[in-house]
Symmetry: C5
Subunit: 99 residues, 5 copies
């Protein structure tokens, strides 16, 4: 799954009829410190995520396995809202141990 | 889904017979300011998108779940035309808050 | 779909038995001016493409939806030979309009 | 499969109901010397992997083929814990042989 | 398909039970001169490939369509051993023709 932060919403009137009522959110990828990365995706929201929240996104055919997205032409879905991350192997300790 | 802008059309006479009548559009990826990114894809149009319009593209097996692309050998479909984006977490504010 | 140019052929005697008789072509990705990009893929040819031709490639499970590749262990298929591209939003005009 | 190292855990209370009880681990990609690479993924653990361990991850629809992840909206699963790698063609010897 | 060279083996005792008996090989991507590229994948061997050999890899759901990998949680399979490549459009000639 991709870790990201909800930064906005896409409005689209003209769309495949199977997509009526879905909310398309813009999610920017983040690192494990929640700092923004370069890439972003547009994902359907299946869990009531709001702007600013950190979320998990399932992509590809797995993006169609929520109650909301079954058999729909969407390739990314928000399937969890992240409370927190526990980092047990910090990158600086790891790199130090390599030296 | 990928956010992009329709920049042109592909003409192909010799193709898999299941693709007859489909329109193949060239879509360049854009950022959330609609500025062009480096990558582009060729996608089947299922919603009547025109040159210059901002669209959403579903890729992979999800690209075959519109009425037009079912069971066809295509891996990208335009399934929505974007009216506008609401950006609630602008990147500059986000980066400022990190400092 | 990926836009590319056929640059060669792969010969492989020892292979999965379901692949007998298939032609594996090397296709380098191109930009919209047909200039070579860095990446390339090996794809099964389902339309009689020849060296030097510009083609479209469907990847992933969509690569198995031609008459030739059904249920085969291949993840990329040439499903169209490109006659020409019509570019209606040239990149230089687009970038100029942004200034 | 992706080779990576488990570096932490994601906590998410609000999620798709089919995901109850699953453990979401953060896995950073590594090279063949187990040095950290830039990218990471969040993957469901199906084999009891712990922090610091080197693992293999299956992505996409293949990520749903363990006993735990069947029909679930997840696109990455840890399906093996790595004991060791045998490198028979070291990169430096390969590059030397090219000269 | 991805073109690569077998450089080693992954040993993993603790794994999904459906993976018993499979051989996991480390395959580094190569260019059309067989020079090493930056990326590598771990793939199941279905054709008896050995260290140093040049192979083709099918990824994603297509990686599950060999006799060995059907319904298994693996996303990459070696499905052919490459004898040789015929390059009919060399990159240097192509780039020269563009000038």
């Amino acid at each position: 799954m991709l870790l990201g932060r909800v930064i906005g919403t896409v409005w689209a009137t003209k769309k495949d009829e199977k997509l009526e009522g879905m909310k398309f959110l813009i999610v920017r990828a983040v690192d494990t410190d929640y700092k923004p990365l370069a890439n972003f995706v547009v994902a359907v929201d299946s869990v009531g995520a709001g702007a600013g929240e950190i979320v998990l996104i399932a992509q590809g055919s797995s993006g169609r396995l929520t109650w909301l997205t079954k058999d729909k032409p969407v390739d990314a879905v928000i399937m969890a809202i992240v409370d927190k991350l526990d980092i047990e192997v910090p990158l600086d300790e790891w790199e130090e141990a390599l030296q």
